[in-house]
Point group: C2
Chain length 235, copies 2
DNA sequence: AGGAATTTGTGCGTATGTATC
DNA sequence: AGATACATACGCACAAATTCC
């Protein structure tokens, strides 16, 4: 393992390497890792150091460590990971999330918007409809600070916005805070969502932060609660 | 450190000992711990082992470890622990939670209630008003399954219901799931909450589970969103 | 300002215990 | 019962951050 001056600690380099392997599918769910001594030799570190890397994966719920049995990848959390921040469910439970972008605009930041950590005053406004099993459940307006990119089009945005942030903009969302309230539906929501403009509806206001703890994004979602509900699991 | 056969590992013995010290107030918030080498000597273990105990405390958010600076107790998490499941905040943020019990009734379980893991068919219904900084913010109706206790009175219930569950009933809440919706306000809510019966309001439906993963409780809270909002932090 | 002292972070190698196969 | 593999624990050396003089 290279030990350049500015580099990350060896155990973090290894754990990040394994995380990328999982994300890329090179390490699949349920796959058994080689014994710790082997892996330590492969990476040219001591068993102690390698164990610290594996402990890190365990803390992230990506690895099942079992004495006498071995270390097993738990990549099930991966696809969930992309949607870990999505908190709407069909009323009968579950539903596969998709999104349709209605509009992408570069605009002056409104005054009532929370601070996004920039002084440019410009931001991207993304409006989209989120669906579960193809049933539209919410309309979402997202404000992404302007400092991250100079161009942004509806075509570029994949189904998972956070995936786009991570892969195209190098922004990993690490934290979010939702405020759930009741708020009038705006006038731009499409018909098929089943929400009447001006009527009170469940509204989720979200702020997100990146690795560096800088605020990135602010969004508001109006939810059709006859189709979906906001779910929060606590443990 | 004693190393009897059936005992916990040394590092866990030490971390549990420190946790008890924090809970009992012998280690106060902000207090600085002795250097690791000193503590290791005190407990008769190696620095490595002691560090593992401290890492455990850090994972529990009870300790702040800073290279070059030392280890500092963060007991703030203690009181928060009791209210960790409380997700309402004043609109300006924060607020100290209190509760006033309106009514405690033993009743037949309604049919539309989710399964509470019992076949007795009886349950306790608790109605109370929750306040933040003495301002009423929500009305709550709780159904506690009947199998846990034969008597329950308003006087017995402390401010924190979960504290009561833990100390009197031996029930530690380990998991909860909130469903947030919009729902008409019931007719029993008191005037000073500022919610009109029958009008739609933010409603939080919660199920809770105990250690054993058995369902315990179901509750619904109607929130005055002009005073408070439902907050969910994700990381 | 600057350098020494203090304190935690990282990493190694090894020995032994214990769960699983 | 034996082999395999992870868990615990020790002691040491050096790096990096902080504090103190």
């Amino acid at each position: 393992m290279a030990t350049e001056p500015g580099a990350l600690p060896a155990y973090l380099q290894i754990s990040e390497l394994l995380i990328r392997d999982i994300a890329a599918g090179r390490l699949a769910d349920g796959q058994r890792l080689p014994p710790e001594r082997e892996m330590a030799a492969e990476h040219g570190v001591s068993v102690t150091t390698l164990r610290k890397a594996l402990a890190d994966l365990q803390n992230r719920n990506l690895l099942d460590r079992r004495q006498g049995s071995g270390n097993t990848i738990r990549a099930s959390g991966e696809m969930e990971g992309v949607y870990a921040y999505f908190r709407l469910e069909l009323r009968q439970g579950g539903g596969f999330p998709t999104a349709q972008v209605l509009e992408v605009t570069r605009a002056v930041k409104p005054d009532d918007l929370p601070d996004l950590g920039s002084d440019t005053g410009f931001a991207w406004r993304i409006r989209r409809v989120r669906a579960l099993n193809r049933l539209p459940v919410s309309a979402e307006e997202i404000w992404l600070d302007g400092r991250f990119t100079d161009r942004l089009s509806a075509e570029e945005l994949s189904q998972s916005l956070y995936l786009y942030y991570r892969e195209r903009l190098g922004l990993a969302i690490l934290r979010a805070e939702d405020h759930v309230e009741v708020d009038p539906v705006p006038n731009w929501v499409p018909e098929d969502l089943g929400l009447a403009s001006g009527e009170p509806a469940l509204m989720v206001a979200r702020r997100t932060w990146a690795q560096t703890n800088e605020p990135i994004e602010f969004s508001r979602s109006w939810v059709n609660t006859s189709r979906a509900r906001y779910v929060s699991r606590i443990s």
